[in-house]
């Protein structure tokens, strides 16, 4: 048998230090696989369909600043856990060079964030099919006090199933690998509809299927111009067509929706990831913003930039439209 090749822990394996010894990788993989009660099999196992696996969906965690941590939950029947809230408890387990005994860290409640365009309803965590609910659980304001590897124990009271726990591992760096809140925004000349000599698909990958760019209002501004004009900007980095995750298209649609509701608060910008997917050439603006020191680029990302050019907030992977809308509403209305 040949397994799918993509490492299951890659999203959480952005190395804290460039080289993670194989033994640590295997340790983390084992940790990610052990789900119930910290990897021990409980005496009375729940029904097979209820066994939950956790995967960290957020990336680029770092020390000393409040940040979001997102985790997706799925059963061994490839169903999802959706709706309501769950609890996260974090444990520090050391670095690649110095693994330690688990040391308790912060804990937080995590709310379900539905993929844009999918059902957000439901009282408590429940087992769902993708057509019934899709998304992940997000805790806000989590502060890590040390760089290294952390585990998150997710505890969920699932309707009709009972208490389930699942364990996943994430890397935390000394510093963020890409621009983070408080940093000055990069004055990037991203491609726009006015860009000369570039294929339209490099401006928005949807051109290759639609024959047009469906949201021209997201392709009129460069980040550099917004900063120069003192205009806040909401910037989504995503590739709607060539994304191999399920969130990229919908998140761009979400930003388009926000642009129609809050056009007086910010410039709204979509930066396409690919200049040319088939040659694997990444748009320079996406590289400037998203390339980690390790060379990796992750997407999608959403950045909110203030009028003074400082990054106010950022979201990776998936985000709540209501949460972004609330931050846009805090910005003063602009004239003109």
């Amino acid at each position: 048998m040949r397994r799918l090749t993509h490492p299951p822990t890659s999203a959480m394996m952005v190395p804290v230090r460039r080289l993670a010894p194989l033994v640590l990788v295997l340790t983390l993989l084992a940790a990610a696989c052990g789900s119930d009660e910290g990897g021990e099999t409980p005496a009375s196992s729940p029904p097979p369909r209820a066994q939950v696996q956790a995967i960290v969906a957020s990336v680029d965690h770092y020390v000393g600043a409040p940040q979001r941590v997102a985790v997706g939950l799925v059963t061994n029947e490839n169903e999802l856990v959706s709706f309501g809230s769950v609890d996260f408890a974090f444990t520090y387990i050391g670095t690649a060079e110095e693994p330690t005994e688990p040391q308790p860290g912060p804990s937080a409640a995590a709310d379900f964030v539905a993929t844009y365009g999918t059902e957000a309803g439901g009282q408590g965590p429940a087992i769902t099919l993708p057509s019934e609910g899709r998304g992940g659980y997000e805790a806000r304001g989590v502060v890590f006090d040390r760089a290294g590897f952390w585990q998150v124990m997710v505890t969920a009271e699932i309707d009709g199933v009972g208490t389930q726990q699942a364990l996943a591992t994430l890397a935390v760096g000394e510093e963020p690998g890409i621009p983070a809140p408080g940093d000055p925004a990069l004055e990037t000349e991203n491609l726009t509809l006015d860009s000369k000599g570039v294929p339209e698909a490099a401006v928005d990958s949807r051109f290759v299927t639609d024959g047009e760019i469906p949201d021209p209002e997201l392709h009129g501004w460069t980040i550099a111009r917004a900063i120069a004009d003192g205009r806040p900007a909401l910037v989504v980095f995503a590739t709607p067509v060539f994304c191999v995750s399920q969130f990229c298209g919908p998140v761009t649609d979400m930003v388009q929706d926000l642009s129609s509701r809050y056009e007086d608060r910010a410039a709204f910008i979509h930066v396409e990831i690919w200049e040319d997917y088939e040659t694997q050439t990444v748009n320079q603006a996406a590289l400037d913003w998203l390339q980690q020191p390790s060379g990796e680029v992750t997407e999608p990302w959403l950045y909110l930039i203030g009028a003074d050019g400082t990054i106010l907030d950022r979201w990776s992977t998936l985000w709540s439209e209501e949460e972004v809308a609330a931050e846009l509403e805090e910005l003063p209305p602009m004239a003109g």
């Binding site: 822990t9 969906a57 993708p130």
Partner: protein, 179 residues
């Protein structure tokens, strides 16, 4: 507005995509030993390149070549299941059952398409691009307030062709859609 985009050498690289919920979790299950998330080892008899003229359709399972030959077992990997589910989507659309078609697509096809695309982009980017474009067309169709079954059937048919091409690229056996 001035355009000052650098015209220097742009690094060619592959973004490592964040593995979000479904796809990442499916892969995690693969790593944890779930048979649901593994693909079959390419069969020596199933390789298109090894049987260039043995079958009238390189992307269809070969019929038994002689009366004494045992029938080939139907492929059962996740890709084959997704392909068969996509056949069902097309059938449901033909019947006008849009709701069921969409649910089947979301529950039984969508995630595996991402996995296939991720696999095939390691081998043939043109094929991967075709698959992702076809997938996007189907998603776009289902996202419309009113779904027109004719164009959506054509989009699904195109996606079936694209997934077959991707499976052939990956040397994966392909089941035929039910008549």
């Amino acid at each position: 507005m001035t355009e000052t985009r650098s015209h220097g050498t742009i690094p060619r690289m592959r973004p490592r995509l964040t593995h979000l919920v479904g796809i990442a979790l499916c892969l995690a299950l693969a790593a944890c030993g779930s048979d649901d998330a593994v693909v079959s080892e390419p069969s020596a008899t199933a390789s298109v390149s090894q049987t260039p003229s043995a079958s009238p359709s390189e992307t269809e399972p070969s019929p038994a070549s002689s009366p004494s030959a045992e029938p080939e077992p139907e492929p059962t990997g996740p890709e084959a299941r997704a392909l068969l589910a996509l056949c069902t989507v097309e059938t449901d659309l033909a019947r006008g059952d849009v709701e069921r078609a969409e649910a089947t697509f979301e529950n039984d096809v969508h995630e595996t398409l991402h996995e296939i695309a991720h696999e095939v982009e390691e081998v043939d980017l043109e094929v991967a691009a075709g698959l992702l474009r076809a997938k996007y067309d189907v998603e776009l169709g289902f996202a419309q307030p009113t779904i027109r079954t004719g164009p959506q059937r054509r989009a699904v048919a195109a996606l079936i062709d694209a997934i077959r091409e991707a499976m052939a690229t990956l040397d994966l056996d392909q089941p035929a859609c039910a008549a």
